[in-house]
Amino acid sequence: MAYLFNTAKQQRAMLQTIGVDSISDLFNQVPEQLRLKRPLDLPPPLSEIELEAHLRECAGRNVGGSSRACMQGGGVYDHFIPAVVDEIASRGEFYTAYTPYQAEASQGSLQAFFEYQTLICQLTGMDVSNASLYEGGTSVSEAALMAMRATQRREKIVILGSVHPEYREVVETYLSHLDCEIVVVSTPEGTVDLANVEAALDDRTACLIVQQPNFFGCLEDACRLTDIAHRYGALSVVSFDPISLGLLKRPGDFGADIAVAEGQPLGIPMQYGGPFLGILACRQNFVRQMPGRLIGQTIDRNGERCFVLNLQAREQHIRREKATSNICTNQGLLALRATVYLALLGKVGLKEVAELCCRKAHYAAEQLSTIDGVELMFDRPFFKEFSLRIRNGKLDEVLRNARCDGFDLGPTLRHFQSFATQFGKASEEGVLVAVTEKRTRDDIDRLVRSLRKSVLGL
């Protein structure tokens, strides 16, 4: 068998040392009547050749971003991943290590995660970042729980209707057993009306959750929203797109208390939804309420700087039911990818990427809107993603033809039930389009031709 070492002869020697006759004797704790009396009903084993042939066959029945220009958004984006990110993340010493509990034998991981925490602080303008959570949706949920602990307000949170609908659902699930009201402020114009937010908030509200740019690609007035939240003593939780921070004001700049994100755009492949990277950073005074691991700097016995797991008393393995979260295994390797990505892009590179996305997205939006029956759904500023409205029941055909022509757009708004109420019929006609730095003007022009053809019914 492929991954086993010990030969029959060695097994015999080992059994002798143990003092039993056979391997089955080792299992005498397992009551006979509980034993499975038949082999598991699993497909037969495959050699490496067969396994690879099988996986390639399966992969061949998917159509991915290598064969089509991916202009899909909704929280996951086809940004370029420099080869260096793959190279470093595939170092066995990183990806086959465990959580760095043994500091002396884990300085590599520990320092890398300390660098991650620092980079996230620099990116967001926040004071502290943890060492990762599962992904965007659970990060928003952990932020809500954290806000409730920090404010001691456990009855109500407010969340904008323009936050990723799946993330909103996750928050609902996470809070389902609590007596906590979740007020959703709807955003029929693409962004929220500040007056409606004002109306929803009160002094029982733990936090206001805003996504920037929001799910439709539009820019909320995150700064004013934060001020409003603070006026009611609620925390401002901002879910951001890390790439957008190459251009936009940082959550820390406008006073957010907790900044969370899906880190996928930072050098992580789309891989049909995961594993991704949950980012969570906050202001200094909330550090002991943070969920997840934190790496800290200290010195060793020789006075040399080194890194360790820190403030573990917040965590489940010490605090058990009193822990700030139940998370144990996190997304370390993805945090490493994000670290390398941010290091590689640096001060200038991230700005360039953000500018490219922004310019190309605006070019695409402009060109697409020249088509009769195609228009921007919302008249709002956006960054790299926008909602397109395809009128006259042509949406399906447009998307199908675009796929044939080599473009994947989406998701459609009707994919999410919650939008039917927010937008009515318009939700039947809306689709998200995201434009990353990988797309060329030629891609965009061809997409425009494809849509024009579809709409004109050619």
Partner: protein, 490 residues
């Protein structure tokens, strides 16, 4: 030979004006950003990020990596973690075009290959667990626990029952109580019996109409099989409660016995442990759960379903009828599940049995070779791991479990888990896994025997041959430094 320059902090290597990645020039009309976006939304200062070149980033991280121990390079017998070999073919296959480049919102007809894999994964996990329905969504074991407890809560709610108590043994992993609390339950911890197992009388004394779930790790964290598990489950079911199996230790019983068969109602898998998704220095994992038939409707959305027509088979996403809702964005940790899928397809039924048999053999062999110096208080034989105690050494020679752990690093071995579970004084929890050779186990045994002959004083200052000596945790906690900041004079 160590390159100390390269392992300074990223930020200390930064030099104003340096460039790493370079991007294409814009090929669309170059309009001013102020025209495209509201100026007051744009950042005013340049980004704070460091400035490095590509070569120094590679050298930095390659050098950092060599400061780690890892399964690829070292024996890593960390108890409860199942640090087995991570097959290289998995890395190659999980990154194939057509798998790694799929966007979660593509149409299902463009995803039939991956959906089939995930569907088959559900089926295989169900078979291994002996339970009927699987959700692949949870991102890790703890997430699986939380999800299952929310399923249980919904199930009870539906039946009009309000049950508030979750029970677990004191040897339970910290995530068990933490997940129970997160799901809104009250926690009840059981002491267990002298043998290190659940005490039926104690259990019974806590059972009533408030009892929701008993969370049990089997084999438990002492490496012992809960041989009264069937009775335990019966007792729970008698009061209308559910039994949850924490599957972290599944490596001991694959194809030998199944949670569903011994009475469990729900369980999670740690794909990153049992099925070799690598640990990634902390993650990612995948913690799918399996539940019995009447809980299936409560699973989080979506699950993968299959429609078989005479000529075509189609896979699609479906929301269970009474679903608790979403527990994460997007589908699941596909990349890790793919690796688990590859593993299961490589091993097959016989191979999985071999895994458990050899995991248990290796553990018992190591236990036998160490028993003269590190006795195991609980159990004659162990399953895939055992918890030895350095209490004698501590009392007689002043050598602690920590001393031995640290000194092992010098000998080129990663340390076992120490001081967990708490029920064993000076605990050393050792899980060799099946992918280690007798030669390695012997060498590890020899090292321990040498170490316990060393001077206690000398051991207190170990390790000596690692990149750093023992760190000052107290100072770290007292005045936490959680990020680099620019020195004041710069």
């Amino acid at each position: 030979m160590r390159n100390k320059l390269a392992t300074k902090l990223l930020f200390e290597l930064s030099e104003p004006g340096r460039r790493g990645a370079v991007f294409p020039h814009s090929d669309v009309p170059n309009r001013s950003l102020d025209e495209l976006m509201p100026p007051d939304q744009l950042m005013s200062d340049p980004l704070e990020l460091p400035e490095l070149s590509e070569p120094e980033i590679v050298r930095h991280y390659d050098n950092l990596s060599t400061l780690n121990m890892s399964v690829d390079t070292h024996f890593y017998p960390l108890g409860s973690c199942t640090m087995k070999y991570n097959p290289k073919r998995h890395e190659r296959l999980a990154s194939l075009a057509g798998l790694a480049d799929l966007h979660p919102y593509q149409v299902e007809e463009d995803l039939q290959g991956i959906l089939q894999i995930l569907y088959e994964m559900q089926e295989m996990l169900a078979e291994i667990s002996g339970l009927s329905a699987v959700s692949l969504q949870p991102a890790a074991g703890a997430h699986g626990e939380l999800t299952a407890l929310l399923v249980a809560a919904a199930f009870f709610r539906d039946r009009g029952e309000s049950r508030s108590k979750v029970l677990f043994p004191s040897s339970a992993h910290g995530t068990n109580p933490a997940s129970a609390a997160t799901a809104g339950f009250d926690c009840v911890q059981l002491q267990g019996n002298k043998q290190g197992r659940v005490d039926l009388d104690e259990l019974q004394s806590h059972l009533d109409g408030q009892t929701a779930v008993f969370m049990i790790t089997n084999p438990n964290t002492l490496g012992l099989f809960e041989c009264e598990i069937a009775e335990i489950c019966r007792l729970m079911h008698d009061v209308g409660g559910l039994v949850y199996v924490d599957g972290a230790n599944l490596n001991a019983i694959l194809g030998i016995t199944r949670p569903g068969d011994f009475g469990a109602d729900m369980m999670h898998f740690n794909v990153h442990k049992t099925f070799t998704g690598p640990h990634g220095a902390g993650g990612p994992g995948a913690g799918p759960i399996a539940v019995r038939a009447d809980l299936a409707d409560y699973l989080p959305a979506p699950v993968i379903a299959k429609t078989q027509r005479p000529t075509v088979t189609r896979y699609h996403l479906e929301t269970p009828q009474q679903s608790i809702g979403r527990i994460r964005g997007f589908l699941c940790n596909v990349g890790i599940l793919l690796r688990g899928y590859c593993y299961l397809r490589t091993l097959g039924a016989k191979g999985l049995c071999d895994v458990s048999e050899n995991a248990v053999l290796n553990a018992n062999y190591l236990k036998a070779t160490l028993k003269d110096v590190l006795p195991v208080p609980h159990g004659e034989l162990c399953m895939h791991e055992f918890v030895a105690s350095a209490q004698n050494l501590q009392e007689e020679r002043g050598i602690s479990a920590m001393d031995i752990a640290k000194r092992l690093l010098d000998y080129g071995f990663h340390a076992p888990t120490v001081y967990f579970p708490l029920v064993v004084p000076e605990a050393m929890m050792i899980e060799p896994t099946e992918t280690e050779s007798k030669e390695t186990l012997d060498a590890f045994g020899d090292a321990i025997h040498e170490i316990v002959r060393e001077d206690a004083e000398f051991l207190h200052n170990a390790p000596y041959h690692t990149p750093i000596s023992r760190p000052n945790d107290v100072q770290a906690a007292r005045k936490p430094i959680l990020r680099w900041t620019r020195p004041l004079n710069q």
